[in-house]
């Protein structure tokens, strides 16, 4: 197996008195879907926001392709090839699909020093991406706020694809979706991995995760309590790891 795309070492995050993450070590590999599992409040979103440059870690290091990085904004992470689809889907409901896909990285041409948007090019690129995702949206100029949950997810995924991201992080992408839309998003995570992307997938649905993830990491109360390859585990074991009933977790939690 190749060197990991991203290595997180001893990541700590405190919010005032609350320690949301205590010493997370994790490796993320290209061409692999890594699932993060854990109960509500386990720290999954917080961890992912640190990788995405949305939060600064209180302690710990992040290495991207072997070199240490310090992200001070989502833009920094994006230029390192990390695209994140946040749980809250950071889409602007008042803007159109193509405006959202390109937001913060618009195509423009300079006339007399004024950066004019290249709306047609942006539209064309987004139409192409939507076709690739097999997503049909009747009015591409409509504000994103008027789209369905699955359509919004597709817009967010377009945004990540458009970045040519090497790591795509999806926080609960299927939480608000109907069954058919969930299938589509899951098959998309596989397709991203086959393209050579590293994919991090956060989900509550263990059945979904076991289906698409190559590797699973279980978070509990701000710690990574277990890591399993798909071949070496089963849904029952994952559940017991999440709830803390698993002997490994008990042993770990007894030691401190």
């Amino acid at each position: 197996m190749s060197a990991p795309f991203l290595v997180a070492k001893g990541i700590v995050k405190r919010f005032g008195a609350l320690t949301a993450l205590s010493g997370i070590d994790l490796e993320i590999r290209s061409g692999e879907v890594l699932a993060l599992l854990g109960d509500n409040g386990a720290g999954k979103s917080t961890f992912v926001k640190i990788l995405a440059g949305a939060h600064a870690p209180s302690d710990g290091d992040i290495l991207v392709e072997g070199s240490p990085v310090m992200f001070s904004s989502p833009k920094d992470a994006a230029s390192a090839g990390i695209a994140t689809i946040f749980q809250e889907l950071a889409l602007s409901e008042n803007l159109s699909i193509s405006e959202n896909v390109f937001l913060g990285r618009e195509l423009k041409r300079s006339i007399f020093g004024i950066p004019f948007l290249r709306r047609q090019e942006m539209r064309k690129r987004v139409d192409g991406l939507l076709t690739e995702l097999d997503t049909h949206i009747s009015d591409p100029e409509a504000p994103v706020g008027s789209l369905s949950g699955g359509q919004r997810q597709a817009v967010a995924i377009c945004r990540a694809l458009n970045l040519n991201a090497k790591l795509v992080i999806m926080d609960e992408p299927t939480a608000a979706l109907a069954v058919a839309e969930t299938r589509k998003v899951l098959s998309l995570t596989r397709r991203l991995a086959e393209r050579g992307c590293a994919v991090v997938l956060i989900s509550h649905n263990i059945a979904d995760v076991v289906e698409v993830a190559d590797r699973m990491a279980v978070f509990r109360r701000g710690r990574k309590v277990a890591e399993r390859l798909r071949a070496g585990t089963n849904p029952e074991e994952i559940v017991s790891l999440i709830t803390g009933a698993h002997p490994d977790v008990r042993a770990l939690e007894k030691t401190n």
Binding site: L95, E141, P143
Partner: protein
């Protein structure tokens, strides 16, 4: 979403219809209303409000606001007046307005953006500071009987159209282009929708907010230049109802008080409707004391109507969002 320079939606057509109805009713009510002289008066009285309204449109669209615009215009007008009085070259006196306005906008942005003070509170605080500054600068006296240099310059016609009209058209086109044709406009609207989401999308939120406050300040300062050119004096009470008028005109025009949605052509129409009503009511004998009542009533009425037709939800007006 398609936006042409003058393209209009339902809201804007209704506003145009409201202007037409007001003109019709007032023409019947007063023989002095429908005269070319009065039309010119209305247009001339609309200029400062329009310029300030353009800036306020951007601010509200971004989820910001500035309640100190009246006094900012006053301070800039003192600068322009003093420059005129000192016989500085006229183009320099004209530029003094926007320059002072932009500098005050920078100060506002520093307080509101860097100080992380809600815009409505920060600009209210600055309003208090500036009011005293005006008093100190004017020493309780009006600037009056200023030279006519600026009035002549802005009134000079090129191809039969006064320079003033070119400046106003340029200001409108510049704002429209920035808002609808450049990344800046998208960023501003995204911030107005949700500052946190805008940040997560990689938008330079602090920079965009700074620029918007500075641009709004410069437009308010430009309004001061027009004010001095029009009236050739600066009195203690300058701009006292400007913030109310501007916010009312902009909200009438269809810009959301909560940000994320705006209309520049709506602002133009809102300004015209407000000034037509204020002028007409004066002509039919309503004392000018009642003007702010009418303006405030319109503002509240429109917001209530938007809640009723659920363009806004009550919980949003209760400031739960952010």
């Amino acid at each position: 979403m398609r936006h042409g320079v003058f393209s209009m939606n339902g809201r804007e057509w209704s506003l145009l219809a409201a202007c037409a109805v007001a003109i019709f009713v007032l023409s019947v009510a007063s023989p002095y209303f429908a005269t070319s002289g009065n039309a010119a008066t209305i247009l001339r009285n609309s200029v400062e409000l329009l310029l300030v309204g353009l800036g306020m449109t951007l601010l509200l669209a971004m989820g910001g606001i500035d309640v100190s615009v009246g006094i900012v215009m006053g301070l800039a007008a003192i600068g322009v007046g003093r420059a005129l009085g000192a016989d500085l070259p006229v183009p320099i006196t004209a530029l003094a307005g926007p320059i002072i306005g932009a500098a005050l906008g920078l100060l506002t942005a520093t307080v509101v953006v860097l100080g992380r003070v809600p815009a409505i509170v920060g600009t209210l605080g600055l309003l208090g500071v500036y009011r005293t500054a005006i008093f100190v600068l004017l020493g309780g006296q009006w600037l009056s009987g200023l030279p006519t240099g600026l009035t002549v310059l802005l009134g000079t016609t090129v191809l039969g159209i006064p320079i003033a009209a070119y400046v106003i058209a340029l200001a409108y086109l510049a704002m429209w282009t920035a808002l609808r044709r450049t990344p800046f406009g998208l960023h501003l609207l995204a911030i107005g929708n949700s500052e946190e989401k805008a940040r997560l999308s990689g938008i330079p939120v602090v920079k965009v907010r700074f620029i918007t406050f500075i641009v709004s300040g410069a437009l308010t300062g430009l309004a001061a230049t027009f004010y001095v050119a029009n009236y050739r004096n600066v009195e203690m009470t300058i701009g006292s109802t400007l913030a109310l008028d501007a916010i009312a005109a902009v909200v009438l025009g269809g810009t959301s008080i909560l940000g994320g949605r705006c209309s520049l052509i709506g602002t133009v129409l809102g300004v015209l409707l407000l000034r037509i009503l204020q002028n007409g009511l004066l002509l039919v004998g309503v004392p000018s004391l009642w003007q702010p009542v009418v303006t405030g009533g319109l503002l509240i009425g429109v917001l209530a109507l938007e809640v009723a037709t659920s363009r806004l939800s009550l919980s949003q007006l209760g400031w739960t969002r952010k």
